[in-house]
Symmetry: C2
Subunit: 314 residues, 2 copies
Amino acid sequence: MSNPRRIRTRGRMADPVLVVGSVAYDSIVTPHASGERILGGSASYACLAASYFAPPRIVGVVGHDFAAKDRKKLEKRGVDLSGLHTDGSGRTFFWRGRYHENYNRRDTEDLQLNVFEHFSPRLPEAHLDSPYVLLGNIRPDLQLNVLDQLAAPRFVLADTIDVWIETQREKLGEVMRRSDLLVINDTESAKLTGEANVITAGRRLREHGCRAVIIKKGEHGAVLFHQEGMFALPAYPVTEVRDPTGAGDSFAGAMLGYLASVGRHDFAALKQGMLYGTAVASLTVEAFSTDRLAAAGCTEIRNRRKELLRMTKA
Amino acid sequence: MSNPRRIRTRGRMADPVLVVGSVAYDSIVTPHASGERILGGSASYACLAASYFAPPRIVGVVGHDFAAKDRKKLEKRGVDLSGLHTDGSGRTFFWRGRYHENYNRRDTEDLQLNVFEHFSPRLPEAHLDSPYVLLGNIRPDLQLNVLDQLAAPRFVLADTIDVWIETQREKLGEVMRRSDLLVINDTESAKLTGEANVITAGRRLREHGCRAVIIKKGEHGAVLFHQEGMFALPAYPVTEVRDPTGAGDSFAGAMLGYLASVGRHDFAALKQGMLYGTAVASLTVEAFSTDRLAAAGCTEIRNRRKELLRMTKA
């Protein structure tokens, strides 16, 4: 395995981060450009983002068409692929989407689950002791299945999407109660709680058993709701969005990677994690696919975090 | 004149703040309540907001129907009414508006300019030396007229609205160049620059001659663009919006009041001003008309500023 550069956040060995989610090929059209069959999926983005802070372990499935270069892309950033199952019976999950002017709406034009349809995450023996866990936006019953396999995770971050709020609400509730941090966007928090006001929605989610919640608002930043208080962080000032796909997964991956690197997950650490998550997500949206993310240097991430800190300091 | 309580920001006498703008009666319907012929107008809100920091001087016009109780409301907060002209020939500016679910859209159902139609601001002799000046969103040629009357203002804050961007763009450009700070919302900045991205719009406005710009994003906070850098501040976490009318005017009034109280307008002072502006605006939206604003205590404003500071500190 290669030895990728990491951001030194503290003078300690970073703990590993287990990431379960989708690995996909995306065909994306935006108002300014398009890309065909580029590496995507929540687990790919989250692992690459986490890799700047801690060693990621990916758990997912790909088909017989998964390219060696994409495998290499992940390996180069130190992603442990022993949990990435290749199902030779079919093709990799495929998604075709189109973004509209201003990127605030996207349409799914084609979706082929392929081998992902029968995906049931099975953790390699060596991953069962993973201390930091990111449950990407797969079906809630599969997220629970992952939690059941783990010995004693120290910190679990869970994500979800609209479709599970509509179809698996009860299981999702169980995921939320068994996680340490729920990270969702404002549309999802409104759907989950029936509350359009982000502040009320966040507080309600905590009342309903979430230990901590982050609600993401895209270009308007994100808000953390925690036992010790609230924390509101603006987005990094991106002026050239090229492809917003994977921004949320990059945010979560970098944030959890940071926590694993410092081995802490108190309020102060979560706030720092959000700064890094925001910095890394801003890189993701500036290019197609995982290109910018895979090529980003530690210096660039550190600089963006510093700039974010400077522009929010009263 | 009464001696209203003020927030002590520094151990000095606050400079006076001149506020020119509309004084109106508003009839407002929101999804949750309604109010008939309540005191409104940009100058009323801005003066009441400024009064917590510095002595405001209002410049505007009202009709024969302007109630003694509303005059008293302003006087009680120490607003100097010598520049408030009463035009006995007609009625006070009247606006009837309706807010829709989530308050992000409002319709004007009736608008009667009345005595405001022929308003031409004339400053009392004693106001010509005003150091801090707020040009409310009146016609740009009238804003320029005010600037021409002033001796040597130290700091000028200018506001505007959509209609002047469409009909008096050139004059508005002159106002922007002759002001120290332009405060507008994101719809207005997009219309002014043709740029939906707030970051790009803010930078472009500075390139076009604005010394400093604040773009307000409602519930998503505000961003300052300044020679020394950017500053992004989230909104105060309001969960019970009752009437958003006057939030922007309260923000501008409190902000300028703060600057007048400390007698400084550097980058650091502008940032502090935004904190106070945001705190005061959050009070305005929690009640109809100027009620909450006129009744707010200094302690409450200070507490909200402190909370805002705490929830944005990484």
